[in-house]
Amino acid sequence: MYDIKGYYDAETVSEATALLAENPNLKLIAGGTDVLIKLHGGQLEGAELLGLRKIKSLEHIRVADDGTIVIGAMATFSTVFNNPILRELIPILTEAAISMGGPQIRNIATIGGNVCNGATSADSASSLFALNAQLKLQAKNGERLVPIREFYLGPGKVALNPGEILTEILIAPEDYKGFGGQYIKFSMREAMDIATLGVAVVCKVQSGNFAEVRIGLGVAGPTPLRCLEAEEYAKGKKISSETLAEIGKLAVKSAKARTSWRASKEYREHLVEELTQRALKIAVVNAGGAELV
């Protein structure tokens, strides 16, 4: 049996924020694929859980009138992968979603839980970083928007204040329209494995040049991260093997890879340099550019 002291269900967001305000010790649980594992392993003890599973309004995925993509935090990875809108507009997120865990895990694990768990290996994170996602955090007395880059503070640490709940993940039209992207997950197995490295890139192409490039990396540091130096360098550069090679090298500079039992620092850095280039090559084609041979 799990070491659970109490379990409460909220049926609406306002009910959940009210319960949280009353009892700040409540631990939020969405799909449970991280929280229950921590309880099982003893990293979390005597938890009082607030279940969000009954809040159906948080499962919706839609495009707002201004073109902003709105993903409810309780949308499962299966829902994200099977959503026709996301598949068309931001396939780097749906590809990341299908790479996570196995089918039974994807059927219950939520994208909001994945983000709030704060893991650098979160499969959705590199794509959400590359897409400049914004997170809507709701508390009893108001809400705020936080860019995902400011949300990850350290391993397992996120900028969720006591009393707050992540309700929606937003992607603005200027961050995805006209972009082509590619996601690569590097892992030892093709299913049920944690990434050795996750790379998500998006780019905009203009007459053979990079108009804009954004690179999100997972497991390349204590938190997911962006390769700002490489992105800055790429702006306006001709799309060529030389440019890509330089982008790969600069991407390594932003990475803060370390040695773990999954891979050494050196190997991870090699992966960053190589996979960034491979992902960009495909992203260029997806953005309407010419294939680089």
């Binding site: 379990y7 229950l36 865990g101 039974q104 895990i105």
Partner: protein, 167 residues
């Protein structure tokens, strides 16, 4: 702490209080006797505890019992007909020799059943992907894949390398 929940297992309705600390697997095995769902890894890696909840496969070791409120649950005990006749999926597993020690079989049969009943078309790669949440340490998977493809006869398409491909 206890909570009253109502749900059905294999068509039979239940309504009782569960301890909030229990997983659905605990309830199915220890209170209701559905021991076809196996306890393997306990952390959602192996798929031995999988059952269908409202027709979708879930790992019950990491599914809190309280979440089962209002759900329709199907375990391996509810797959064969009442008179004991095996389902087409079960027959395919027997015919293809897809069962060795049997520990992973309930989960694999249930996931395959969900695929067969979905009426969807699958490529061979998709069949593999859908079964990837079940670990089998005996068979090497080939016979399991054959059994799954046989169960989906007519729904596994465009896979030239499939033994069941009809060109």
């Amino acid at each position: 702490m206890f909570k009253r929940i109502a749900f059905t297992v294999n068509g039979k309705a239940y309504n009782f209080e569960v301890d909030v600390r229990e997983s659905l697997l605990d309830v199915l095995r220890n209170h209701l006797g559905f021991t076809g769902a196996k306890q393997g890894c306990s952390v959602g890696e192996c798929g031995a505890c999988s059952v269908l909840i409202d027709g979708t496969p879930y790992d019950t070791c990491i599914y809190l019992a309280v979440w089962a409120d209002g759900k329709e649950i199907r375990t391996i005990e509810g797959v064969a007909a009442k008179n004991g006749e095996l389902s087409d999926v079960q027959k395919a597993f027997v015919e293809e020799g897809a069962v060795q020690c049997g520990f992973c079989t309930p989960g694999l049969v249930l996931t395959t059943t969900a695929m067969a009943e979905s009426g969807k078309e699958f490529t061979q790669d998709e069949v593999k992907r859908e079964l990837s949440g079940h670990l089998c340490r005996c068979t090497g998977y080939q016979n399991i894949l054959k059994a799954a493809e046989k169960s989906l006869e007519g729904h596994v398409c465009t896979c030239v390398d499939s033994p069941h491909y009809k060109g």
